[in-house]
Subunit: 189 residues, 2 copies
Amino acid sequence: MKPESRKQEIVNAAAILFKEKGYSAVTMRDLATAMGIKAASLYNHIQSKQEILSTIIIELAEEFTTGMNLIVNSDQSAIRKLENIISLHIDVTLRNADGLASLNNDWMHLEEENLLSFEKMRNDYEENFRQIVRKGVDAKEIKSNNIEIIVFSTLSTLRTLYLWYPKQKNIDAGILKKDMIAVLLQGVV
Amino acid sequence: MKPESRKQEIVNAAAILFKEKGYSAVTMRDLATAMGIKAASLYNHIQSKQEILSTIIIELAEEFTTGMNLIVNSDQSAIRKLENIISLHIDVTLRNADGLASLNNDWMHLEEENLLSFEKMRNDYEENFRQIVRKGVDAKEIKSNNIEIIVFSTLSTLRTLYLWYPKQKNIDAGILKKDMIAVLLQGVV
């Protein structure tokens, strides 16, 4: 692994503070204190708290967008596509649960074009998910329940993974992926 | 339907404001303004903002506790118990989605014994849910996936229903109940 850049260290430390206190309550001074450096030296690497927030959230949103585009444009079955979406969420959660807290709780504090860009990516993501489910139902690969209920039931679980998984001590990533795919796709009974 | 008491009207109006701005940001003055009355007259019915919050949350927590106790002590199969838990969440969401926003977002602002009481009810609820799943797995009614993953996958969906369902215009309560039970229990494929 290559060493993290100073900017990346700042972003990671900020994500933890944003998760604990919320974006609005964190100051650049808090961030400097948490990192044991002077507030002024943060500005050698970053322009503003807003730049940190948008770095965290837009990078994550782009990661989901790239992953979803690969999945939706593949030739696989709807079921395989859903499995890959579940894996995508688990992989991102394992890598960056702190950043996902910002994405979920503080996206509304993004400004101007970053806010618009985020909202577009989120909407496109949901629409791609819905399309996969709809085509799967049409092809009779997926049972014909209400499509919005299917999308919501799956996404609500995947989107709160970042809150739950870090507290689990006895579930390794392999079990998580295997059993979450089984539970979400095949059900529990 | 009997007319709401003045206290209930205050509680309902407060739940909407707490949902929109968060408990901490709402003042008794905001609440009076929203209701078109004088702040002083709120105090004829209620002692404090904290009393309103605890009324909202503890009543809901007791509703879930009572429902869960009936379910867990019944003689039904594990599957039927899970169906009844899903119905319970849907019924409470249909009746009081605004209050559920307070329960989910502002429970940590409860004070002293109300906080302890809430946390105990929430923990007992989860433990009862876990027991139902465990017994269902032991009896081979429920597939043998990781129990924590089963509980999380189901509860994460039920707990975010209050956010999603009020925005749905084309899903009536009957379809919601039928299809959500199908999706959560039988899966999508």
